[in-house]
Amino acid sequence: MGAPDAAHATLDEQALVEACLANQPGAFDVIVERHRRSIYLLCYRFVGNHEDASDLSQDVFLRAYRGLRKFRGQASLGTWLYRIGVNVCLNRVSTRAPAVESIEERQFVDERAEAPSEAILRAERSARVRAAIAQLPRKQRATLILRTYHEMSHQEIADVLGSSVGAVKANFFHALGSLKRILGGEDA
């Protein structure tokens, strides 16, 4: 796949979806290019390593391609893709314990803005928090990730997870409580 063609690059979401359904070559590439970063980040937050995040991202887009006819445009394409992404990730983490990436395995660390020692300390803290998040029950983890890193509202999270706003708030509350316990226990 090369760069998505200019004809599709300016289309809005609904027009892009229609172009895909009309089998116009290159239309789906534009959708992938627009959303690949957010989907990859979502997947990484769930699994904590680059390899699995790449595989899951591909899976998310492939499922989206297969299910494009079901996209009705009631939610944004981004929200719809998130929903697929969360389901794919939840299925993965329920069948496999996440292999959280070690600091050495990190792909690319931008250390230009800080001293190397500070960067390493920050990376260690991040690794600890990611490992703690990986221990959370699935719904709590999904809620925490969508709220904290993707800044979705409680209602949007409820839509993505197919639950109520009350359940989202309860999951978020319990997720934070569990994290506090896990991280506090490590510090002790």
Partner: protein
């Protein structure tokens, strides 16, 4: 009364201002809980995803594109197969009708085979064996000591019990006899008579 988890989350998330919960000003427990939630949120928010190589994004797009192309090729092959079958059977409606016909035939064959109960075939086999015995063809068995021992050991075992005990395995002669049609049983009976009637048998 203390704040509920729902209220605490709204306050920690900034969905509602602290002024909406005057209870906070008087309750150290709820204040501490709210501060704890905020501290954990801040700790979690600080975690960054390591930036992948700048080349990764195009690589990901290519992977997705290849996977989509494979998917399309698979669907095209499937459609091709269906249209070939459709052509062979003369159109979609004829194809559906032929599928229904095949299904009906399978059901008829299945039901027919079920109505031939194992009991009746067993009874036929026993009757055939009795005929052979009554004709005196195997009368010499009484005088053969080894057969007498075998007969006494297996006196209480029927063909079915032998099959259940694993003595009549698929492909064995016993299994073949207990699963014969009427015509096959008659033919076996005839062959046995011929064989036993030969001089020196």
């Amino acid at each position: 009364m203390h704040l509920t988890p729902d209220q605490l989350v709204d306050l920690a998330d900034g969905v509602k201002p602290e002024s909406s919960a005057p209870h906070l000003a008087d309750c150290a427990v709820c204040r501490a809980q709210l501060n704890g939630l905020r501290a954990t949120m801040s700790q979690v928010a600080d975690v960054e995803v390591p930036e992948p190589s700048p080349l990764f994004w195009d690589h990901l797009s290519r992977r997705v594109s290849d996977a989509v192309a494979r998917e399309d090729a698979g669907i095209a092959r499937l459609k091709g197969s269906r249209s070939l079958i459709g052509t062979l059977f003369g159109g979609a409606r004829a194809f559906q009708a032929s599928v229904l016909l095949v299904a009906a035939l399978i059901i008829v064959v299945f039901v027919t085979s079920r109505t031939k109960t194992p009991d009746s075939s067993k009874a036929r086999a026993v009757a055939a064996a009795r005929d052979v015995w009554s004709d005196g063809i195997v009368a010499d068995a009484d005088t053969d000591d080894s057969l007498t021992i075998v007969a006494s050991l297996t006196a209480g075992i029927g063909l079915e019990a032998a099959g259940e005990a694993g003595l009549a395995l698929d492909g064995s002669a016993e299994h073949a006899v207990t699963h014969m049609s009427d015509g096959e049983l008659r033919e076996l009976q005839r062959l046995l008579r011929e064989e036993m009637a030969r001089p020196g048998a």
